[in-house]
Point group: C2
Chain length 436, copies 2
């Protein structure tokens, strides 16, 4: 059966979250939004592919325009030809001789690529009648490798190395799968410590989360340092010495400022400092990592990735030993194909994957990636957990399910990326009832 992609529908969907202070940090105050894409096909039963990229409100129309500019590379393709020549398909989006200038492979144009590529993977998984994590985990190593564009990263990871990692990941896979089916995948919560929340709300949310079973929590830092110290103390008091506390500065600090502020915050035993400085500053992250390792006696590491532009930035973060935690995002970079390359590079460099989530639908996406990583690449849960934010899941057809601070395995076919019709209609910008 040949399935042809017959059209691309793009929806500008925005949720009015800014007013509530949800999602406020040192530099963002957003109306969580999605550039939501559906690929129509001629498959019997109307099977379609759903994908999106996450934005922060204003400007979602720009990523929508970018999806429209790229759509001609997708419409008219068959799923079979994409499966047969996945890198050729991927490069038709990332190396368009005119559109590449707008990136290259970064920002708006690359986020649009991510939305489209993920929609193709959702379609592939739906046609295979498997959740994406299972489609990937069961895929032969050579086929997974064939989905990766090694251009510009081959100095860090070559196809033979990638295949060897994936082959090794076959060992014990069924045991790991049984474990996940029984226990779920570990996660942490970021819902307790947004900068927009007052102290008493932080304390109450922390206590509530601890009571629900969470043993890893993340707070935002990057405000006045005395405020950060005070809020860190509140959270550490509530969770005790054993639970993990992560800190996230959302890039607001300069390099030396990050080192100075961490010399104050190590008192609260942070497990990681996330985005301590500008996302593009590989060398700066490397300096901070060295300093923080010293300040914390090796207990605190540097984490970043949610704003890392592409596989070339991740490559350098790993080469420079700038990160101890690799925070892949599902849709800032060019979708599943590029994420696979980052997961494999991280494995080669011995850095665990802890995906970025939150926003709109990012939890739905990244659970698949983390599960695949554990089953087939990383093969250990040590230091691995998925971010969890309790926002906006109700708008998805196959929302994440958690139990006691763990993600349960998704079992519906696809990438859990399909949004409910009613939500699309209600939150469409600017004409949906919420915005009109």
């Amino acid at each position: 059966m040949t399935v042809t992609i017959t059209g691309v529908d793009v929806h500008d969907v925005r949720f009015p979250t800014a007013a509530a202070g949800d999602g406020s940090d040192a530099i963002n105050r957003g109306d969580y939004s999605a550039t939501y894409v559906e690929l129509r096909t001629d498959a019997p039963g109307g099977t379609f592919g759903a994908g999106f990229t996450f934005t922060n409100g204003r400007g979602n129309e720009i990523t929508c325009a970018a999806v429209r500019a790229l759509a001609h590379h997708v419409v008219g393709r068959t799923v079979e030809e994409i499966v047969a020549q996945p890198v050729a398909f991927w490069r038709s989006l990332t190396a368009d001789v005119q559109l590449r200038w707008l990136g290259p492979e970064k920002g708006v144009i690359h986020m649009a690529t991510g939305a489209l590529v993920n929609a193709v993977w959702d379609l592939r998984a739906k046609l295979a009648e498997k959740p994406l994590w299972r489609l990937l985990a069961e895929m032969p190593s050579e086929e997974l490798v064939r989905n990766i564009d090694f251009h510009h990263i081959i100095d860090a990871l070559n196809p033979a190395e990638a295949a060897a990692i994936l082959e090794k990941g076959q060992i014990g896979l069924s045991d790991r799968l049984a474990e996940l089916e029984r226990d779920g995948f570990p996660s942490y919560t970021t819902s307790v410590g947004w900068l927009g929340y007052p102290d008493d709300k932080v304390r109450a949310l922390t206590r509530e989360a601890y009571g629900q079973g969470w043993r890893a929590m993340k707070m935002k830092v990057g405000g006045p340092i005395e405020d950060d110290v005070r809020r860190a103390r509140i959270i550490r008091e509530e969770i005790g010495p054993d639970a993990l506390l992560m800190m996230d500065a959302n890039q607001v600090w300069d390099v030396d400022e990050a080192i100075e502020n961490m010399s104050r915050l190590v008192e609260f035993d942070p497990y990681w400092i996330e985005e301590p400085t500008h996302a593009d500053d590989v060398l700066g992250h490397a300096r901070i990592a060295e300093a923080v390792t010293g300040l914390s006696g090796g207990r605190c590491r540097v984490a970043t990735g949610e704003v890392a532009a592409n596989r070339v930035i991740f490559k350098q973060l790993l080469q420079a030993e700038a990160i101890g935690v690799c925070q892949i995002d599902a849709c800032r970079i060019g979708g599943v194909n590029e994420v696979l390359s980052v997961i494999l590079m991280a494995a080669k460099f011995g850095v665990p994957i802890c995906p970025h989530a939150g926003g709109v639908g990012l939890c739905e996406y990244v659970q698949h990636l983390a599960i695949f990583d554990y089953l087939r690449v990383g093969a250990s849960l040590d230091g691995r957990m998925v971010e969890y934010v309790d926002h906006l899941h109700e708008h998805f057809v196959d929302p994440v399910r958690t139990r006691g601070g763990r993600y349960l395995l998704p079992d519906q076919p696809g990438y859990s990326s399909t949004m409910k019709r009613a939500s699309i209609a209600e939150f469409s910008f600017p004409d949906g009832p919420v915005w009109a």
Copy 2:
């Protein structure tokens, strides 16, 4: 007199250059385009500010959309408040709490910032009745420093260091100005060796350019290596051993591939290899720089910058000793303010500025930046030259003028960025007569 910016007009202007093979290289084949912006004001006489960012054709509507998304930060401002608080104004564009997510400070959203910020500088220079280079060169050091956002680069350059460089640049300035008024500013031509041109056209164009007085020429490489070698030989034969030959790979090579190919091409004594690999790969450029220095006995250096996303990437290229030539672009990064920071960082690290030009109006822009750099920062012409491409100048009200391979000083007020009304009308996409 207070001047208020009352509106922003955005034009999608595209020139059908792809069909002719002009501007074809290893990864681009473009219809040279501009997201062209005019800031309307209430100034007597209708003074307006003109700015643009350059794109490669398809997708120019996306940068236009990004300008519209940012325009509310500009409309209603007075020139006086921008001059008084330039970094606050700049950050209103680059650190918008919602739009920042689309970059940050890279790609489409940052190019749109560049168009708007440059339009403001054109307006400032027109109101001062000076060409931009003169406005900048005559500006007190503390005011120049006040226009720079040191956030995320202060580990490489602080305000005191910047002020000291600028103060030192006052010495001998009038002599350097007299020299430029007499001789013009050195340049090199890229019009001889596009990949789209056959060998005999390359030879003829090279011979013609040499006859016109050009003693520095750039060729595109990154095709099959035997083709690159053959074309390099043709050009070197035509220009003799003394003229400079630069090579530009437009990012097409992997890191090790770049080193291997340069081991073939050093035979033709390249003065620099430009964009040998992915624009984001700071560490890769550093490895290539070290190798090429060895291969050439120190005669060949690495150049990049036209696709460097922002000042943080430039900072790292300099910190890592990855470049020996700093190729600023006027409108990929956030306009004059950010370019100033790069020029000053390059000066601190002892790397000469050779601006990227070509495209639409880039020669018009960057001549001002190079002249300012020589007059006030670099203070030496050693290794300094501006790219020159003989395309599309006729569409500008104040086009570049050259004589014997040198740019003559622009003398009209502004940033030479105003496009002719008739050109805007004729080449507007999709409704102008050329496209309709």
